[in-house]
Amino acid sequence: MIKLSPKNNSNVILELKNITKTYATGTNCFTALDNVNLKIHQGEFVSITGPSGSGKSTLMHIIGLLDNPTSGEVLLNGKDISKLKEHQLAQIRNVTLGFVFQQFNLLAKTSALENVLLPLLYSDVPKHQRQEIGLAFLKKVGLEDKIKNTPAQLSGGQQQRVAIARALVNNPQIVLADEPTGNLDSKSGADIMKFFHQLNEKEGRTIVFVTHDMDLAKQAKRTIVIKDGKVLEGKNA
């Protein structure tokens, strides 16, 4: 068990220092991220945006500990995570981070409730409490009457809300969303964004989301624009 106690002096949860990510494509070397520095504070609502191929998804993967940078440091609650083993990273992803994907990524033929409970399978939450926690989060996203429905029986917006409940079920410090409205119609997309706003304002949850849509990005309290692997602007960055 790794203790990730927040530092007292600053409320920075996540800090990227001089992050560079390069991919070898045949004989060429492609730089996806070029010396990126970034801080995410407790309770922030941050959007990362940029044209396609700018490196925003790569940045998201590094923030989400799904990918390793070629060089640079990732500090989570002040602790360098680059030396951690795969199973320790898995634990951080389970407890500290919550993911929402563009494709929802719900398990097919599996009920909404069981999808929400999935992260608890890999956590220390006692078995008898899981059901209750899952139901509470499904209620929070307004799907208490759909707990037995499989993804195929839910609309896109509903599926994404199940995915959000799944992301929240372990009470993560940061919620990461990769194009969360990309597969939704504008009405459902707006609902999802509204829900993120509520989470941020009412519960003070830290939310980072990636979008290519500038209008959507501007709804966040801070927007990080990235282009050709470099951070162009960012208030308070």
């Binding site: 993967h61 989400g64 799904l66 990918d67 795969e86 199973h87 898995a90 634990q91 992803r93 389970n94 407890v95 993911f99 994907f101 990524n105 398990l107 033929k109 599996t110 999935l118 992260p119 399978l121 890999y122 956590s123 220390d124 078995k127 799944r166 992301a167 372990n170």
Partner: protein, 407 residues
């Protein structure tokens, strides 16, 4: 601590296997066939062994045989040159007298065999084995005709050279198709003999010469038919099972006075039995080994499907990893799925094999043993573990982002 708990892993593995029922059955088919055939073959092997034991018991378990030549080699198997030696050595009336004198508590029966055509007024049967012996032989070898089928010959008839004969069941049927043979006449080598009995039907022992195809006559009659007074074999009936070993030793001592040690053999049915059983064992192991190959093929089938399953579920694996599944949790999940598939196959195989063995037992000896069931089942489970490791490792090593991007 294992996360998720073992129960959760089993539950989710069952769920994903049940999502693809027909695939599950097809995948397990290899294991099913393997386990079924292993159980069938070992059952048949065991059945043959106990059948042979029963047959030997029926033939007189307390009998000691003295035979010309070396029947067994030093390793307990059958000797290669026994036939050549059997042609050379022949026992004589002198040996019989000596054995009779020295073996007070046992019954010594000389046996002489010859081959000849046998004729009735209706039919002819060519080259039939005609065994000549004494009154005791009938009881000792369980060939005395039952009530209503005539009788066995007496020592008096032997001494007086009375021309009587006892026919095997099939011989009697051939020579006298529509009537009882008892009381009728047969002709062997121009000599007319009276049929005094027909031996009950015994059935063939594995297609070899059987009691049903034999003809029995007093020793003196067969000596006349064969044209010599030779004795092919002695059958010595010991009073009890415990007396067999001392009697064998004594016989050996007596015979060594008259013959070279390689010129004769003294053995009892248990020795013959263990030789035959060792042959059956070797055959059973060889056949079972061949059947076990199909278990390996079944394992390859499971590996194949598990690899397909890993590829199909790449996104699921990516998602599980993104939300906190550590590599070993994924490894164990897929391993358990492979083990469930092979155990399912093993279980169905055990059931089919046992039912098959029961069915076979109605026309061929087959006997299911717990050890073969346990062996087949544990081998099939082991196959599941061994062949499940490669796909499970592949799944556990997938990079989460690549897995999530997989289309």
């Amino acid at each position: 601590m294992l996360k998720p708990s073992f129960n959760d892993l089993i539950k989710s593995s069952f769920r994903s296997i049940l999502k693809n029922k027909s695939r599950t059955i097809l995948t397990s088919l290899g294991i099913i066939i393997g386990v079924t055939s292993v159980i069938l073959l070992t059952s048949i092997g065991n059945g043959l062994k106990s059948y042979v034991t029963d047959q030997f018991d029926a033939l007189g378990a307390n009998s000691v045989f003295i035979s010309p030549g070396k029947v067994f080699n030093d390793n307990g198997g059958f000797s290669q040159n026994s036939f050549a030696a059997a042609m050379v050595t022949n026992f004589t009336q002198k040996d019989l007298n000596l054995l009779n004198r020295k073996l007070k508590n046992s019954i010594v029966m000389p046996v002489n065999a010859t081959y000849a055509d046998i004729k009735s007024d209706k039919a002819i049967k060519k080259m039939v084995e005609i065994d000549g012996s004494t009154e005791d032989y009938g009881k000792s070898n369980n060939v005395v005709p039952s009530e209503g089928n005539g009788r066995w010959f007496t020592d008096e008839e032997n001494n007086k050279k009375t021309p009587v004969v006892v026919l095997g069941y099939k011989i009697a049927e051939t020579l006298f198709p529509n009537s009882s043979a008892v009381g009728k006449k047969v002709i062997i080598k121009g000599k007319t003999l009276k049929v005094i009995g027909v031996v009950d039907q015994k059935g063939s022992s594995f297609g070899g010469p059987s009691v049903d195809d034999a003809v029995y006559a007093p020793f003196s009659i067969v000596s006349d038919l064969a044209g010599n007074e030779n004795i092919n074999t002695f059958v010595v009936r010991a009073p009890t099972k415990g007396a067999i070993e001392p009697i064998k030793k004594e016989i050996t001592k007596i015979m060594l006075e008259r013959y070279d040690k390689d010129a004769f053999s003294v053995f009892d049915s248990s020795q013959l039995l263990s030789s035959i059983n060792s042959i059956i064992s070797v055959l059973t192991i060889a056949l079972t080994g061949i059947a076990a190959i199909s278990l390996v093929v079944g394992g390859v089938g499971i590996m194949n499907i598990m690899l397909v399953s890993v590829t199909e579920r790449t996104r699921e694996i990516g998602l599980r990893k993104a939300i906190g599944a550590y590599p070993r949790a994924i490894l164990i999940q897929f391993l358990i799925e492979a083990i469930i598939l092979s155990c399912f196959g093993g279980l169905v195989g055990v059931i089919l094999g046992s039912l098959g063995a029961l069915a076979i037992n109605s026309f061929f000896p087959a006997k299911i043993t717990i050890s073969s069931v346990i062996l087949a089942f544990s081998v099939s489970s082991a196959v599941g573990i061994i062949f499940g490791v490669a796909p499970a490792r592949k799944a556990s090593k997938l990079s989460p982002i690549e897995a999530l991007r997989y289309e």
